[in-house]
């Protein structure tokens, strides 16, 4: 199953938007944090986990999803949020801690919640699993359409909650898909040093469900694997597991010196940057013209710029609003 022309345009557009968004955020992040890097300062304080390089996973999966489908993401959620259709203005404003943000500044970049498109996050490793499985249960019980998709990192697969949720989804045959973004690192610890086997898709055997590993960050292969898994889920045939080999082009978070990376690793990764690769392929396959791609890129840049402007122009929340929205 290959993505249609329109889907490829959509995928490319979202990859570019995500990359552009993060490049812009990265630039702004350092405002107020020089000459000495200080996490607390500047218009965007706190930890910042970028997803540069991992965009293919988000778009390859979300190409199959509707707003009604439920996605849970992690501490590294921007690419997924964008591909799931989270309101970019409100998302940017949230990252700036503004009153117009998705949650009025209460959440921040690790806690993006957009009920309109059923998107949520947790900053605790693997803890998006339960809620996505629960959404799948809810749909099954209500006989309503919709699948639950949890994105996790390869490091999360060694967390107990991951295992429990996989077993629950499989036992109850829920419309659920777990997508593992294997960027080979959990902060500074490599997959090889933390995981007993090299292919987490093999762990599907522990739950009697299909498991697929997608190589080399390929958006087309991701699209295909996700398409099958999501179709299976929609057809009531139960959950699936997908692991994607992807690349973290940046540090774990901004400010990470990455001293733990073997020499040359980063350079090799940059050569595999998925965005120019997809661009070249679309051109080569005649799926898009140079002009179309440039238009997509310009539109994406404009979209991001507008969102950032919205965020910058928005007011800070009232400090005392910290005390509201604790209960519904």
């Amino acid at each position: 199953m290959a993505p249609t022309r329109d889907e490829q345009h959509w995928m490319y557009r979202n990859m570019v938007t995500s990359r552009k968004f993060e490049e812009t955020i990265a630039g702004i992040y350092f405002e107020g944090k020089t000459p000495v890097f200080s996490m607390a300062d500047g218009p965007i304080p706190g930890e910042m986990h970028l997803s540069d390089g991992q965009e293919p996973v988000a778009v390859g999966v979300c190409a199959h999803l509707n707003p009604e489908d439920v996605v849970t993401a992690t501490h590294r959620p921007h690419h997924q949020a964008i591909a799931k259709g989270v309101d970019l203005d409100k998302m940017a404003a949230e990252i700036f801690g503004k009153a117009t943000g998705l949650s009025g500044g209460r959440g921040g970049h690790m806690h993006l919640f957009d009920a309109d498109v059923n998107f949520a996050c947790s900053g605790i490793i693997a803890q998006g699993m339960g809620p996505a499985v629960g959404a799948a249960l809810s749909r099954k019980m209500q006989k309503k359409p919709g699948v639950g998709v949890a994105f996790v990192g390869e490091g999360a697969v060694n967390q107990g909650g991951w295992h429990e949720a996989m077993n629950l989804a499989a036992t109850w045959k829920l419309p659920f898909v777990c997508v593992i973004e294997d960027n080979d690192w959990g902060i500074s610890v490599s997959k090889g040093d933390s995981t007993a086997i090299s292919n987490n898709a093999d762990r599907a055997a522990a739950y009697g469900i299909p498991g697929v590993r997608v190589k080399d960050n390929d958006p087309y292969a991701i699209y295909e694997a996700a398409g099958e898994a999501i179709a299976r889920a929609r057809a009531g045939e139960g959950p699936s597991l997908i692991e994607v080999e992807t690349y973290r082009l940046a540090g774990h978070f901004m400010g990470d010196a990455e001293g733990y990376r073997p020499e040359g690793e980063k350079d090799a990764l940059f050569e595999k940057d998925p965005i120019p690769k997809m661009r070249a392929k679309m051109l080569a396959d005649g799926i898009a013209s140079e002009a179309e791609l440039e238009a997509i890129e310009a539109e994406s840049a404009a979209r991001v710029e507008a969102a950032i402007k919205f965020a910058r122009d928005s007011a800070d929340p009232a400090p005392e609003d910290a005390l509201t929205s604790v209960f519904a």
């Binding site: 919640f113 339960g130 809620p131 959404a135 929205s325």
Partner: protein, 339 residues
């Protein structure tokens, strides 16, 4: 209390009835947990529900508390109203992230864009030699962390009304029921917990304490089983001509500080009774809530009768040595007078 057409229920039965009635009118309510189906809950609070509602809505789970409590959060955010059971509160350590970082915080993190209408019910308490991993109360542990309401009924009337209120609440409610009040045949039940309980559905406002007994000489504040200890102590004190007021907190979050303060303002004396560990818990909070407000009303230093800061021992003589009881409350009052 004698009521015409009295209809005494155990707390277990009252809880099950509240859930049953709500499930009849609200299809989004369902129950998940270990052994809540065919077994009807280890503490009887889901008995009969499987037969009426079937295994889709009365859903036995694997021993995977993180997964099913996390799933309840996801289902709650998606329009369902799950009632989940953590069989013993002592087990919170395997799944607390799903409770305090997801269930309790997602409303806030979303700025109110999602609701998390779910009930987490869990059994508390010891006194029957179940050892240090099956006898704790942990009231303070849950009440300390923001984002969840925490209730704890002392009798069947409250149990039913609180459960219905909890299921209708759009925020998460932790519903802590004490095993010794539950009315299971195999666990001695405090008779005072089994009281008249109307058949029709009703709610109790979450966050309101009750004056369980009026008095003028000392205020004894407690929750759950401790309320019954307090009432018994009050009777003993009455024989000595002392008139004790007993406050049943009913809800730990929100905590009804006004009711506590008003009572102490009247009596001038405060004893807090708590089966949870003494330090950094309920007993300290109640005392601080009174004293930070106004120390001038106090005629004596407040006292606590709480579980000492030790794991719960198995041997009966040791466990009973540690537990609060009416005699200890009476002794605390006498100390207070003597001081």
């Amino acid at each position: 209390m004698n009521v015409p057409n009295e209809r005494k229920l155990t707390i277990a039965r009252a809880m099950a009835e509240a859930v049953q009635q709500e499930m009849q009118i609200d299809p989004s309510v369902f129950v998940m947990g270990e052994d809540i189906g065919a077994l009807g809950g280890v503490y009887g609070n889901t008995r009969g529900l499987l037969e009426e509602f079937g295994s889709e809505r009365i859903r036995d789970t694997p021993i995977s508390e993180t997964a099913f409590i996390g799933a309840a959060v996801g289902a709650a955010q998606d329009g369902m109203r799950p009632v989940v059971e953590l069989m013993f509160v002592d087990f919170f350590g395997v799944c607390f992230d799903a409770i305090y970082n997801l269930m309790a915080k997602n409303i806030y993190f979303s700025g109110g864009n999602v609701k998390v209408p779910m009930v987490l019910m869990t059994s508390t308490g010891g006194g029957y030699s179940d050892g240090g991993q099956h006898s704790q109360c942990l009231y303070g542990t849950f009440a300390h962390l923001p984002g969840m309401k925490v209730v704890c009924p002392s009798n069947a009337y409250d149990a039913k009304g609180l459960m219905t209120a909890a299921m209708r609440d759009d925020s998460p409610v932790v519903y802590m029921y004490h095993k010794s009040l539950q009315g299971m045949g195999w666990l001695a039940t405090e008779p005072g917990a089994t009281v008249h309980t109307p058949e029709e559905s009703y709610t109790l406002e979450i966050g309101k304490a009750k004056v369980a007994r009026e008095g003028s000489d000392v205020t004894i504040v407690s929750v759950g089983l401790g309320v019954h200890h307090a009432l018994k102590a009050a009777e003993q004190l009455e024989a000595d001509g002392v008139n004790a007021e007993v406050i049943d907190l009913v809800s730990l979050v929100p905590l009804d500080r006004d009711t506590i303060r008003a009572s102490v303002a009247k009596t001038g004396r405060l004893i807090v009774v708590d089966e949870d560990y003494m330090s950094y818990g309920v007993s300290g909070e109640v005392i601080a809530s009174v004293t930070e407000h106004d120390i001038s009303v106090l005629k004596a230093a407040p006292k606590r009768v709480a579980y000492p800061d030790v794991p719960i021992p198995y041997a009966r003589v040791m466990e009973q040595f540690c537990l609060p009881n009416p005699d200890k409350i009476v002794a605390a009052f006498k100390d207070m007078k003597a001081a």
